[in-house]
Amino acid sequence: MSAMGHPPTYAKGVIGRRRSQWQVGESDKTRRLREKAAYRPFLLLSPALISLLFLILAPLILIFVYSFWLRTADGRDMPAFQFDNWQSVLSDPFYWQGLAGTFAMSGVTTIICAILGYPTAYFLARCRVRNKSLLLLLLFLPFWISIVIRSLAWINVLGRQGFVNATLMALGLIHAPLNLLYNDFSVIMGLVYLDLPYMIINVYVSLDGIDRNIEAAAKTLGCSPWQSFRAVTLPLSLPGLGAGCLLSFILAAGSFVTPSLLGGPDTSFFAQLIYDATIDQLDWPTGSVLSLLLLTALSLVVVTYNRFMSLNDVYRSFAK
């Protein structure tokens, strides 16, 4: 562009040199601009990173430190480095049963979500209805409703005077209301209810991204519908299924409100144990140990998952 204004009588070499001078000049300018801009993304990110540091990361380090503090007999916490809190929690079968129970219930929830969610997502991905975008939009609607209301809803469904009992009684199928509420069954129903949209959306996104030509090719090569599903569709949709399962499990295992509202007296989800230790008993060292135990157990799940699948699939589903 620099040569444009020059008379055509210039020798080639001169034009070439002039052009290169121009380029040097411009690259200097761009470099300065680039260097000036180099810190800009970090400037833009700093409020987010600072709030993450002070409100999430530092507090997490703090509960780690606090878990070694000494709890004196009169209920004060002294800075110390000793393992009594850890030992008393880790040697108490009550907490291990709580953790095992939480993971078992979350596992059952996840499996039910996968069994119900996969075929639904498959149907959504493959059906040809005009208002498909509406069907998809409806899946996101539950996310806008508070967990406390989505749990309350199940009290109306499963309670002694709830929808299920009222219907069965009206039909004359039962004569006394069934005890459907305040037990493990109602907790799992409530958790499936919360997790299922996540599962369906994750599986849908991966099914929708599969190149349909591959399935057509499998068919051309002589696969039956079932074979092409087994050999092509299912393996290609595994990342979505995996992401859905991970999310379902983590959300269920960390849940507090649903088991508190729908569970019975002997339901003790791990988050409830943490609440009891910290808010009710004000025993912060024990609460810190319990929090770290839950975090570690869930991190192990995430790390194991990340070895086989990509966490990016999980994050991506949130932004849809």
Binding site: P225, S228, F256
Partner: protein, 271 residues
């Protein structure tokens, strides 16, 4: 299953089964919420099944209850203020992640998303412990900061998705044509970014308005938000006006974002 996909063949039995299952799942997802709304208008004195007729008595009962009005005010102020903070912080982070390439970008993006995978209970306990060590009482500020940082990862993701289409050319063109940095921001960047910001704001506001788990840990004993109020009411006795309160909350958290996205689309068209 795949037979249904080829137009030549008739829907198979498997496909019909899938269709039935799909309908059942949608019913499963929406029936419980619809039941809450129906029972809110129940005229029966127990507020449960069987339904006897329609009345607004439970909503009337709600408006007589001052503590519920207080909870609504607290929730609204908290949602508006924490969403404003989260939007401001989030839009800057999202612009940095979408517009610039810099070393460690992927790691920072993952770091910002990390809190989404952590149990809310643990984050709540950790932040509360900081407050305890600083010898501060639980206060509105704790709820404000807490709700902001809980919403932040979601806000950044939502905004990133919205900002991907944003082009830098417009700003360069404006500056070439002689606009200063401030003018460029006001006349070019802001209108382009506004839809993403409004989307993020509504998302954060809804997250805050709906949040219960962390709020139960962070709220000072005197303060109730609407969800914690419902939680407390459910734990003492199941009174029928809870369904009315639930229906009201559903209306607010669903209608508000719908109106917002409508306004946003209008705005995008004008811009």
């Amino acid at each position: 299953m795949s037979t249904a996909r080829s137009r030549a063949e008739r829907p198979s039995l498997t496909w019909n089964l899938l269709r039935v299952l799909g309908c059942i799942i949608y019913l499963f997802l929406f029936a419980p919420v619809i039941i809450v709304i129906l029972l809110a208008f129940n005229s029966a004195s127990t507020g449960s099944f069987p339904m006897q007729g329609y009345s607004l008595q439970w909503f009337g009962r709600l408006f007589e209850n001052d503590s519920i009005g207080d909870a609504f005010v607290t929730s609204a102020i908290l949602a508006a203020s924490s969403a404003t903070l989260a939007t401001l912080i989030g839009i800057m982070a999202a612009i940095a992640l979408v517009r610039y390439s810099f070393p460690g970008k992927a790691a920072i993006g993952n770091l910002l998303s990390l809190p989404m995978l952590m149990p809310e209970v643990v984050l709540a306990v950790a932040l509360l412990l900081v407050l305890k060590l600083l010898h501060q009482p639980r206060s509105f500020v704790l709820l404000l900061l807490g709700h902001t940082v809980l919403a932040l990862p979601y806000v950044v993701l939502v905004m990133q998705a919205r900002l991907i289409g944003l082009r830098q050319h417009y700003e360069e063109a404006a500056q070439t044509l002689g606009a200063g940095p401030l003018q460029t921001f006001r006349e070019i960047t802001l209108p382009l970014v506004a839809p993403a910001a409004i989307g993020g704001f509504l998302f954060a506001a809804t997250l805050s308005f709906d949040d219960i788990t962390a709020t139960l840990f962070w709220k000072s004993p005197g303060i109730e938000t609407v969800p914690t109020k419902i939680f407390a009411m459910l734990r003492t006795s199941i009174s029928p006006e809870i369904n009315a309160l639930g229906a009201l909350m559903i209306a607010i958290t669903i209608l508000l974002p719908l109106l917002g996205s409508y306004a946003m689309r209008r705005l995008a068209r004008l811009g």
